[in-house]
Amino acid sequence: MSSRTNISCLQEAKRVAIFGGTHGNEMSGITLVNMWIQNSAEIERNGLVIKPFISNPRAVEKCTRYIDTDLNRAFTPENLSAPDVEGLPYEVQRAKEMNRMFGPKGSSDAYDAIFDLHNTTSNMGSTLILESSTDLFNLQMVHYIKKAMAPHTCSVLLNEHPQLKYSTTRSVAKHPIGLEVGPQPQGVLRSNVFEFMRTILKHALDFIELFNSGVEFPPCTVDVFRVQERMDYPRDTNGNITAMVHPHLQDCDWEPLNRGDPMFLTFDGRTVLYEGANTVYPTFINEAAYYEKQQAFMTTCREILAANAIRKACK
């Protein structure tokens, strides 16, 4: 029996942005956004303003992750409120500019939804990244996307960790969604990865259009992987890595890692085992950009999130 009191009425999502090139060497999003800037027919939806946007054009020009600092970590309150002075890192300037265009972050003027398109060298398949376990709009959207993409799996990563959560480019919006598709090397465009990302976006925009037209989405549950811990490589006193991700762990994103399982293989052939008490589900295993962030992989735990029914609020 459905109870009318359990339906959450949410504001219509009128303004949506699609960011590519937050990292200038992650080619699927860059290619999609450039294509849609040229011809937006594919992403047009009734009643929706959709803006495809290249976040970090200078990094895209050089096909590098960033120029001065990682744009996807730059949307901190300190950076966004920094005075406009000369010598600000390029990405801090860019963050302030994007906050003006698509925010201000945290305000009622901010864009309703932002999709931020990323690739990873990790074998994560298609992953949707959420920053809140209580954003009903986003939970219902990822549920819709997962169903629409089946039998192709879309994993959902939830980063709500107080220390490990970071200030993403998409966090400017009311409903931020990260799309992470891999494995794909930096600087490379793989056709299958490109098409998966394109299809996920199509379903996401379909959801928003349906929601805005008044469709009610019934209560649902979403299986997520909640970020627990960052695991670094073994390093020597100079900070050099002394081991690699073990062949048994390499490419095993989302698979259980149990106590006693191999984790790293040192350059002189020794295996380092996982010593944690509980089973974890590693992800971002051997992501190229995370060597400098002291991360070989992230551990997660499985959780089921429940979402109320939602419907567009009546005016």
Binding site: K62, P183, G187, F194
Partner: protein, 305 residues
């Protein structure tokens, strides 16, 4: 053939990653390019595919041609040109009797090429014997031999500085990543190369025979917008990761963003390799095409004084 005294294995210090190999007295290791930050290294750096290749971003592999080696160094000389001349002084001079005996240059590729041994010429029996040795000993991955057929005087890459040289190319591996499986293959290849050299220097006779090789024929670029030069297609899923397969007329090459398939239209059956290498977008290369051939090498033995 002369005893190998000075052999050099080159690797790149990237960020804080240093690969070590077992060294013996006659084997030296050398840092080809010191990168203070992973984004500084030009060895993986690339220009976007929608701009022309600029002389300002010089790839060290492409700088060891004669003109660059003899050009005067100024304050505005690109780092890699400076480094090329330093390496030529250290390891060469290229073409002279003082040059070291062998350079083995270690590379990775984003292409699914397994272990590929790359040579300039098809007439260096030493390096071809090493290839033959590696092909018989390594079974984990396909071991292929690629011959560029460029005279050494025109050769532009690092391993052309020494009397004998070849590159070890192992993939697929993304730039900036160390994969254990790829590392293990490369280490095995390096260990076996050193093994061969020691055996050769000790008087072992290496029987001649045939070596299957691929000769470089030409390169193929991505379909591009004629005005902006941006890509309009990606490597077709049926070609992606199929390095060294047989490509016949009618086989798919590219899948355009609007859903059309571009097929291989030529009569000659060739073999694609370096399919979707990240660093080659800026060079206008989606893949190379090669022809399979058999090279015959004679029995060799070290020359006794």
């Amino acid at each position: 053939m002369l005893l190998f005294k000075d052999i050099l294995f080159l690797w790149v210090l990237k960020q804080n990653q240093l690969r070590t190999i077992n060294q013996s007295d006659s084997v030296k290791t050398c840092l080809a390019v010191r990168a203070l930050h992973h984004r500084d290294t030009k060895l993986g750096g690339m220009l976007p595919y929608n701009t022309c290749y600029s002389g300002k971003q010089t790839h060290i592999l492409w700088t060891l041609g004669g003109a660059i080696l003899s050009s005067p160094i100024t304050d505005s000389s690109p780092y890699e040109v400076r480094r090329a001349q330093e390496l030529n002084n250290l390891l060469g001079l290229k073409g002279s009797t003082d040059a070291i005996d062998l350079i083995c240059d270690l590379h990775n590729t984003t292409s699914n090429m397994g272990l590929t041994l790359i040579h300039y010429t098809s007439s260096d029996w030493v390096t071809l014997h090493i290839c033959k040795y590696l092909q018989t000993k390594i079974t984990k991955v396909p071991v292929r031999v690629l011959v560029l057929d460029v005279p050494i005087s025109d050769a532009y890459s690092l391993e052309s500085v020494s009397k004998h040289g070849f590159s070890l190319e192992v993939g697929p591996q993304p730039h900036g990543v160390v994969r254990a499986d790829i590392y293990i293959i490369m280490k095995e290849a390096v260990d076996l190369t050193i093994d061969w050299i020691h055996k050769f220097n000790s008087g072992t006779v290496f029987e001649g025979g045939d070596v299957e090789a691929f000769k470089f024929i030409k390169s193929v670029d991505y379909p591009r917008d004629p005005e902006t030069r941006t890509l309009t297609a990606a490597i077709h899923p049926q070609l992606q990761d199929k390095d060294f397969c047989l490509l016949k007329r009618g086989d798919p090459l590219f899948l355009s963003f609007s859903g059309e398939t571009v097929n291989y239209e030529e009569e000659e059956t060739l073999h694609p390799f370096f399919i979707n290498e990240a660093a080659y977008y800026e060079k206008g290369i989606a893949f190379h095409l090669g022809k399979k051939m058999m090279l015959t090498i004679p029995t060799v033995r070290v020359q006794k004084d």
